[in-house]
Amino acid sequence: MNQENKRKIILIDDNAILRTIFGYMLQGFSDYPLEFYPFKNALDALDFLESHDISTSSGPAILFVDISMPFMTGWELMDVLEDKTDFINQTKIFIISSSTSQSDQEQLANYPFINGFILKPFGKELLYEILRAPL
C-alpha cells in the first residue's frame, strides 16, 4: 500500500510507556490503514513536521499532544502551530493530559483550533471513536 494513503497519527508525549501503550492500541484498529509517529518531545515532532508532507488522501492527520513536556510544553507547541493556518486546516489536534487543573482548562479556550481534550487514563474505545469520526 502506498504510504501516502495511510492516515498519519502523531503522538507527542515524553512518557515512553504511554507511547508504547498508544502504539498497541493503534495496532488493534483495523478500519483503515494508519501510520503511527510517536515523539518524546515537541521539538523532535516539529523537526519531523517541517520535513514531511503530512497531507494524505485518506483523511487529515491527527496530533495527540501531551501538555507537560521538557523543552517545549504542549501549549508552547500550540503557540507555534497557531500561525500555521494551512497545517491547522488539514489536521485534527487533541490534547492528552492527566491534568485536571483549572489553568490548563482555561488555556484550552485560547486555541479554538484544538479538536478535543482527552484525560488520561483513557481506553482504546475513546481512541477508536476519534479515528472513526467523520472527516
Binding site: 510507556i17 501503550i21 498497541y24 492500541m25 521539538l43 501538555i67 507537560s68 521538557p70 487543573s101 487514563p121
Partner: protein
C-alpha cells in the same frame, strides 16, 4: 505808683532835686526845657547835651510788653502831645550796656509864662519790673510743668484741708474745685481713705520725708481705677504738704498681667508633665522642674551645676550643640531633636527635646527654655515593633515560599504522579482483554517499569519533603574552600575527561550553614556546569563568594551551553524539568538546590544566554 501830679502847678525841674524822681519838662514840640540831675543820672545824660534836644533823639525807649524798641511816634511823650491825653503812667525801658533799665513815666501838662508843655517825671522801677519778669517766667514754667503733668497736685494743710490744686485736666478732679477747696480729707472721702492719708501727712511733716500709698478709687463707679498718692513736705513750710495723685490703673493692670503670666508660667513650669529647664547660653541649668529630676535622676541642685551636654550621649552632642548655636544666633526660633541623656544611674534615656531661646528687647539672647520628654518607652516600643515587623516579614516570606512550594507540589502531583499513574489502568485494561501472550508479557514489563518510575518519583519527592522540615539540620561553621575540595573530589573523573578548569575566589571564607546543604548546593551547581558544556571549548568554571547586603553571595560561572532564559526561566528551578536535548538529566538538581536554599531563607538566581554560559548565584541568609 500813682503820683498825684495834678497838684504841681508850677514845677521847676531844676529845683526838684530831692527824691528819687527824675523830672523833665518839655515844650509843646517835645524839646527839653529842663532836666534835673536825677533824670540825667537815670538816663545817663549830661544836662548840657540834653537841653534843647528832644527825648527820642537822645534815647531809644523800649516797650515793657515785649522789649521792642519804640519809634518816636510811639513814645508816650509824642502821643501825649498829639492827643492831649495826659496824666498817663507808662513803663518804658532803656538799654544801658547789655541790661535794660525800667522806668515808670508820669506825663502831665503844664502852663507857665504862657508856655505850655509837658512835665515828665519818672522813677527807676527796674527792680520791680525784673522781679515781675522773673515771676512771669516762673509762672510760665509752672504752667508748662502743670500742663505736662498727668497727675493731680494739691497743696494740703497738716490737718488735711485742701488749699490749692494744679492739674492739666480739671476733669480728673474728684470734685469741682469749689466743692473741695478749704475742705478736709475727712469731709470729702471715706474714712478708710481719709484717715490713713491724714496720718501719713502728719508723719511726713514730722519726719520731713516723702510717703507714698496706693488706693482704689473711692467712687463706686470707678472701682477698677487705681491711684498712687504721694505726700511730699513742701520746702520751708511747716504745715503744708504737696499731695500728688496719679492714675496708676494701667501700671496696676500690667503688673497684674505680669504677675498672672508669671504665675501661669510658674504653674506650667513646675507642674508640667514635661521636664523643663531654663539654661544659660552655655547650657548650664539655671532652674529646672521636678519632672526633669524624675527623667534624669539628678536633683535640681545637681542639675544647676551641670552642663546639659555633659549628660548627653556622645553621639548626640554635636548635633545638639550645632542647633543650640543656631538658636542663639537667632537663625531658628526653636528646634526639636531626639537624643539620649545619661541618667544618674548610668543608663541612657531617649528624650524628645525642644529648645527655644528667650531674647531681650535688644535681641540679645538671655537664656534657653528646654523641654524634655521621656520617649524611651515609645522608642522601646518602636524597636519592638520594628523587630516584630522584621520577624513577621520573615514569616511572611517563609509563608509565601511555602505557598509557592505547595502550588508546585500540586503541579508535581498533576504532571509527575498522575501521568505515570494514568498509564497503569490503561496497561491493566489491555492485559485483561489481550489474548496474545507476548503482548501480555510486554505489558507486564511496562507495568513493572511504571511502578518503578512511580517509586522513583515518590522517592525524589520524599527527599524534597524532607527538606521542608529542617529540624534535623545542624548549623556549623563551614569553610568554603574545604567544602569545595570535597565536592571537587566527586567530579574528578569528569573534570579530567572534559579537561575542565575550576578557579575559586572565596572573598568570604566561612559561613554558618548546614554543611550537607552547602555541599549539595555546590555539588549540583558544579555538576550542571560540568554537564552542559559546549563541544568546542574546554569547560571553565569560576566560583566566587562575596559579601552582599545582609548576607553572602556565592556565584558559579561557566562557559557552557547557557539557557534560553526568556523561554525557560520560569521552569528552570522546577521539578523534573530538562532543558538540554541529548543529556542524561533527571531535571531534579536545580529544583533540589532551590529548595535547600529557600528553606533557609536564601535565594537562587541565574543569568545566562544560549551558548554564552551561565552564572548561577546563591544568596545565603545567614542566621547567627
Amino acid at each position: 505808683m500813682h503820683l498825684e501830679r495834678n497838684s504841681l502847678s508850677a514845677p521847676s525841674a531844676q529845683t526838684q532835686s530831692s527824691g528819687l524822681e527824675g523830672l523833665i519838662t518839655t515844650s509843646e514840640d517835645g524839646t527839653i526845657l529842663h532836666i534835673n540831675g536825677r533824670a540825667c543820672a537815670l538816663l545817663a545824660l549830661e544836662i548840657k547835651d540834653a537841653k534843647g534836644k528832644k527825648l527820642h533823639q537822645l534815647i531809644t525807649f523800649y516797650s515793657s510788653e515785649d522789649a521792642s524798641p519804640l519809634t518816636a511816634k510811639q513814645t508816650p511823650f509824642q502821643i501825649a502831645l498829639k492827643n492831649d491825653s495826659y496824666d498817663q503812667e507808662t513803663i518804658l525801658g532803656i538799654a544801658t550796656g547789655d541790661t535794660f533799665r525800667w522806668f515808670v513815666f508820669q506825663i502831665s501838662p503844664f502852663a507857665k509864662e504862657n508856655k505850655t508843655g509837658l512835665l515828665v517825671s519818672f522813677i527807676d522801677v527796674s527792680k520791680i519790673i525784673n522781679q515781675n519778669h522773673a515771676l512771669k517766667d516762673k509762672q510760665h514754667q509752672l504752667q508748662l510743668l502743670v500742663a505736662s503733668l498727668n497727675d493731680l497736685v494739691f497743696e494740703v494743710t497738716d490737718t488735711g484741708v485742701f488749699k490749692n490744686y494744679w492739674t492739666n485736666d480739671p476733669g480728673l478732679l474728684f470734685y469741682p474745685p469749689e466743692e473741695f477747696l478749704n475742705k478736709s480729707l475727712t469731709e470729702l472721702f471715706p474714712a478708710d481713705l481719709a484717715i490713713p492719708t491724714t496720718q501719713l501727712i502728719q508723719k511726713s511733716l514730722q519726719l520731713n520725708r516723702e510717703f507714698k500709698m496706693e488706693f482704689q478709687s473711692p467712687s463706686e463707679q470707678h472701682r477698677d481705677k487705681w491711684y498712687s498718692l504721694q505726700i511730699k513736705p513742701i520746702h520751708r513750710s511747716q504745715n503744708r504738704i504737696a499731695l500728688v495723685v496719679s492714675d496708676i490703673t494701667k501700671q496696676i493692670e500690667s503688673t497684674e498681667k505680669i504677675r498672672f503670666n508669671e504665675h501661669k508660667f510658674n504653674q506650667a513650669f513646675h507642674f508640667s508633665g514635661l521636664g523643663i529647664a531654663l539654661t544659660n547660653l552655655d547650657g548650664y541649668c539655671i532652674e529646672s522642674n521636678h519632672t526633669l529630676t524624675k527623667i534624669l535622676g539628678y536633683t535640681q541642685e545637681e542639675l544647676s551645676t551641670t552642663k546639659f551636654s555633659h549628660n548627653t550621649h556622645p553621639d548626640d552632642v554635636e548635633r545638639d550643640i550645632e542647633l543650640r548655636e543656631k538658636l542663639i544666633r537667632g537663625e531658628i526660633e526653636t528646634f526639636t531633636i531626639q537624643k539620649r541623656y545619661r541618667h544618674k544611674l548610668g543608663h541612657y534615656v531617649w528624650c524628645s527635646v525642644t529648645i527655644a531661646a528667650v531674647f531681650d528687647n535688644a535681641n540679645a539672647p538671655l537664656f534657653l527654655i528646654v523641654q524634655v520628654q521621656d520617649i524611651s518607652e515609645s522608642k522601646k516600643n518602636i524597636e519592638i515593633l520594628k523587630r516584630q515587623k522584621i520577624e513577621s516579614d520573615l514569616v511572611k516570606m517563609d509563608l509565601e515560599t511555602k505557598v509557592r512550594q505547595l502550588e508546585e507540589f500540586a503541579n508535581i502531583l498533576a504532571h509527575n504522579l498522575k501521568g505515570p499513574l494514568s498509564n497503569m489502568p490503561m496497561l491493566i485494561d489491555e492485559l485483561k482483554v489481550s489474548t496474545d501472550e507476548n503482548v501480555k508479557a510486554d505489558f507486564l514489563d511496562l507495568l513493572k517499569i511504571s511502578t518503578e518510575q512511580l517509586t522513583e518519583t515518590l522517592h525524589d519527592l520524599g527527599e524534597i519533603l524532607e527538606l521542608r522540615s529542617n529540624k534535623s539540620l545542624v548549623f556549623e561553621d563551614c569553610d568554603f574552600l574545604h567544602v569545595f575540595y570535597k565536592v571537587k573530589q566527586q567530579y574528578i573523573g569528569e573534570i579530567q575527561q572534559k579537561n575542565a578548569t575550576i578557579s575559586v575566589e572565596f572573598n568570604v571564607t566561612n559561613i554558618y550553614y548546614p554543611k550537607i546543604y552547602l555541599e549539595s548546593i555546590l555539588s549540583n551547581l558544579i555538576s550542571n556546569a560540568l554537564r552542559f558544556t559546549a563541544n568546542d571549548k574546554a569547560p571553565c568554571i569560576e566560583i566566587k563568594t562575596s559579601i552582599e547586603e545582609n548576607g553572602t553571595l556565592l556565584t558559579v560561572k561557566d562557559n557552557g551551553l547557557g539557557i534560553n532564559l526568556p523561554k525557560y526561566k520560569s521552569q528552570l528551578f522546577m521539578f523534573k524539568k530538562v532543558f538540554h536535548r541529548g543529556f542524561e538529566s533527571k531535571g531534579i538538581g536545580l529544583f533540589l538546590t532551590r529548595y535547600q536554599v529557600e528553606s533557609l531563607g536564601g535565594k537562587i538566581d541565574v543569568q545566562s544566554k544560549p551558548n554564552e554560559g551561565s552564572i548561577f548565584s546563591v544568596k545565603f541568609l545567614e542566621r547567627k
